[in-house]
C-alpha cells in the first residue's frame, strides 16, 4: 500500500516536473523568437511542413464532417418542420466547435507527431548537440520557427475547415435534400454572429495552435535519445495534445459564453 502510494506520488511529481519543464521551454521559445521573424524564411519553411502538408487531410475531413452534419441535422430538424435551419446548425457547429477542435486533433496527429519525431531524431543523432557546439542556439534555430509556424498555421487550417465544412453541408442540404438555397444562407447569416461565433472560433484555434505545437516540441525535445524514446514521445504527443485540446475547449467555451 505504501509502495503504491509512493509510486503514485512519484508519478505526480514527474508530471509536475514535466509541466514545469514544458513551461520553461515555452518561456525560452518566446525569448528566442526574434530570429524566427528576422529570418522569416525559417518559419516559412515550417509553415510549409506543418500547414501546407496538412491541407489535404483538413479539406477532406472538413468536407465529410460538413456533409454528415447536414444529413444528421436534416434528419432531426425535419421532424420539427424546421429543415431550413440546417444551414444554421451546420455553420454554428463548425465555426464554434468542430472547426477549431477537429482541426487541432488532426493537426496533433499529422503535424504534431512529425514535429516530435523530427526533433526527437535530431536529438538522438546529436544534431541539436552539434548545433549547440557551433554556438547556434537550437531553441532559436529549431524550436521557435516551428512554434510560430504552428501558431500561424492552426487558425488558417481551422478557418479552412469551417468553410469547406459549410460547403460540404450546403452540397448535401441544397442539391441533394432539396432545402431552399436562399433559406439555407439567409438563416445562417441571421444566426451566425461575426464577433461571437467566428472570431471566438479563431481565438480558440489560436490557443489550440499554441498548445498543440508546444506539446509536440516539448515531447520531441524531452524524448530520451533512443528509438524507443522517440516513439513513446510521439505517442504522448497525440494523447496529451488531444486531451489538452478537449479540456481547453471546455474552458474557453465556458469563458466565451459567460463574457
Amino acid at each position: 500500500m505504501l509502495g503504491f502510494l509512493s509510486e503514485l506520488g512519484q508519478r505526480m511529481i514527474a508530471r509536475v516536473w514535466r509541466l514545469g519543464a514544458g513551461a520553461h521551454l515555452f518561456f525560452l521559445t518566446i525569448i528566442y523568437s526574434g530570429e524566427s521573424f528576422r529570418r522569416f524564411h525559417l518559419t516559412l519553411r515550417e509553415i510549409y511542413f506543418t500547414g501546407v502538408m496538412s491541407l489535404l487531410i483538413i479539406i477532406v475531413s472538413a468536407f465529410f464532417v460538413g456533409m454528415v452534419l447536414a444529413l444528421q441535422g436534416y434528419n432531426t430538424l425535419q421532424k420539427y418542420g424546421s429543415s431550413e435551419a440546417i444551414g444554421v446548425l451546420v455553420a454554428l457547429a463548425l465555426v464554434r466547435e468542430l472547426g477549431p477542435v477537429v482541426t487541432a486533433l488532426l493537426f496533433a496527429g499529422r503535424a504534431g507527431t512529425a514535429i516530435t519525431a523530427e526533433i526527437g531524431l535530431m536529438k538522438t543523432t546529436e544534431q541539436l548537440s552539434a548545433m549547440e557546439m557551433m554556438a547556434v542556439n537550437p531553441i532559436a534555430r529549431v524550436v521557435a520557427p516551428r512554434f510560430w509556424a504552428g501558431v500561424i498555421a492552426m487558425p488558417i487550417l481551422a478557418a479552412l475547415f469551417s468553410m469547406v465544412g459549410v460547403l460540404g453541408g450546403y452540397l448535401v442540404a441544397v442539391p441533394l435534400i432539396g432545402v431552399d438555397d436562399g433559406a439555407f444562407w439567409s438563416q445562417m447569416q441571421a444566426n451566425v454572429d461575426f464577433r461571437d461565433d467566428i472570431v471566438n472560433g479563431v481565438i480558440k484555434s489560436l490557443v489550440f495552435g499554441v498548445a498543440c505545437t508546444m506539446i509536440a516540441l516539448f515531447e520531441g525535445f524531452d524524448a530520451p535519445p533512443t528509438a524507443e524514446g522517440v516513439s513513446h514521445a510521439t505517442t504522448r504527443t497525440v494523447v496529451i495534445s488531444s486531451l489538452t485540446v478537449l479540456g481547453l475547449d471546455f474552458v474557453l467555451t465556458s469563458f466565451m459564453l459567460v463574457v
Binding site: L121, E126, Q127, S129, M133
Partner: protein
C-alpha cells in the same frame, strides 16, 4: 597568455555522486595534435563536453584561451565555441539539409558573408575533404566515411582554433580511416589549429598525434609522445597499445581481480 590554448586543471566530474573524473590535469599546446585515449566508458567524450561547456565540472576548471569555461554566461560560452569545431562520433549532419547546406550552415548562422562568398568557402572546404563533387547529395545518400568527411568540413567551416574529434576512426573501413587520418593532420597544419582527438584506435592515433594522454579510472594514467608510450613499461599502457588480450593490468575489466584471485 600561455602557449596552451586549452588547459584542464584538476577537474573532477561525476553524475549523481559517482565520480567519472578525479582530478584530471591536461594541457593542449597551440598547433599540436593531442590525443586522449582510454577504454570505453572512461569519460573521454565527457572531457570534450567539458571543454565545449556543455557540462560543468564538479571541481577544478577548464580554461580555453585563458577563459574559465564554466564561469562564462551563455553568450560567453557561445563566443568560446566559435573558436571550436567538434566532429561528432557519427557526424551529426543535419539530415534535412544537403551536404552543401550542412557546410554552409555555420557560415550562414554565425557570419554575415554574402551567399557567393559562402559558396566559394563551402566548395573550398568540401574540396579539402575531397567531396566537392558530392555537394548536392543529402546526408542519407552518403557512406559512413563520406558523412564523417562532410562533418569534418562543417567542423572547420569557420577556421576554428581548436578542432575536436570524437572517435573519428570508429566504424570506418581501412581506406576511409587512412583518409581521415591524413585529413586531421593536414587540416591541423594548414589551419594552424590545435586538434584534440578522443579515440581508442591506437595505430591511427599514434600515427598523427604529437602527444597522448591515457585516461583510466578517472585519472591521467600515462602521458607522453607516441614513441615514449610504445616503449612504456606501464603494464596497462603496454597492454592497450599493443592490444593484448591477456594484459597484466587490464584496468576496466573486472577479469583482472578475478585472475589475481585465481592465480594470486
Amino acid at each position: 597568455m600561455t602557449s596552451n590554448i586549452v588547459e584542464i586543471d584538476n577537474v573532477s566530474f561525476g553524475y549523481k555522486g559517482r565520480l567519472l573524473h578525479k582530478g584530471i590535469n591536461m594541457a593542449f599546446p597551440r598547433g599540436k595534435v593531442i590525443a586522449i585515449m582510454g577504454g570505453s566508458g572512461s569519460g573521454k567524450t565527457t572531457l570534450l563536453r567539458l571543454i565545449g561547456g556543455q557540462l560543468k565540472p564538479s571541481k577544478g576548471e577548464v580554461r580555453v584561451d585563458g577563459a574559465i569555461v564554466h564561469q562564462q554566461n551563455r553568450e560567453g560560452i557561445y563566443q568560446l565555441r566559435r573558436k571550436m569545431g567538434l566532429l561528432f562520433q557519427h557526424g551529426a549532419l543535419f539530415t534535412d539539409l544537403s551536404v552543401y547546406d550542412n557546410v554552409a550552415f555555420p557560415m550562414r548562422e554565425l557570419t554575415d558573408l554574402s551567399e557567393s562568398m559562402i559558396r566559394d568557402l563551402v566548395l573550398m572546404k568540401l574540396n579539402a575533404v575531397g567531396l566537392r563533387g558530392a555537394h548536392s547529395l543529402m546526408p542519407t545518400e552518403l557512406s559512413g566515411g563520406m558523412a564523417r568527411r562532410v562533418a569534418l568540413a562543417r567542423a572547420v567551416a569557420l577556421d576554428p582554433d581548436i578542432i575536436m574529434y570524437d572517435e573519428p576512426f570508429a566504424g570506418l573501413d581501412p581506406i576511409s580511416m587512412g583518409v581521415i587520418c591524413d585529413l586531421i593532420r593536414s587540416l591541423n597544419d594548414a589551419l594552424g589549429a590545435t586538434s584534440i582527438i578522443v579515440s581508442h584506435d591506437v595505430k591511427e592515433t599514434f600515427l598523427i598525434a604529437d602527444y597522448v594522454y591515457f585516461v583510466a579510472n578517472g585519472e591521467v594514467a600515462a602521458e607522453g609522445t607516441p614513441h615514449d608510450l610504445m616503449q612504456s613499461t606501464l603494464p596497462f599502457v603496454h597492454q592497450f597499445v599493443h592490444g593484448e588480450k591477456d594484459g597484466p593490468v587490464p584496468f576496466h575489466y573486472p577479469a583482472q581481480n578475478y585472475r589475481s584471485e585465481l592465480f594470486g
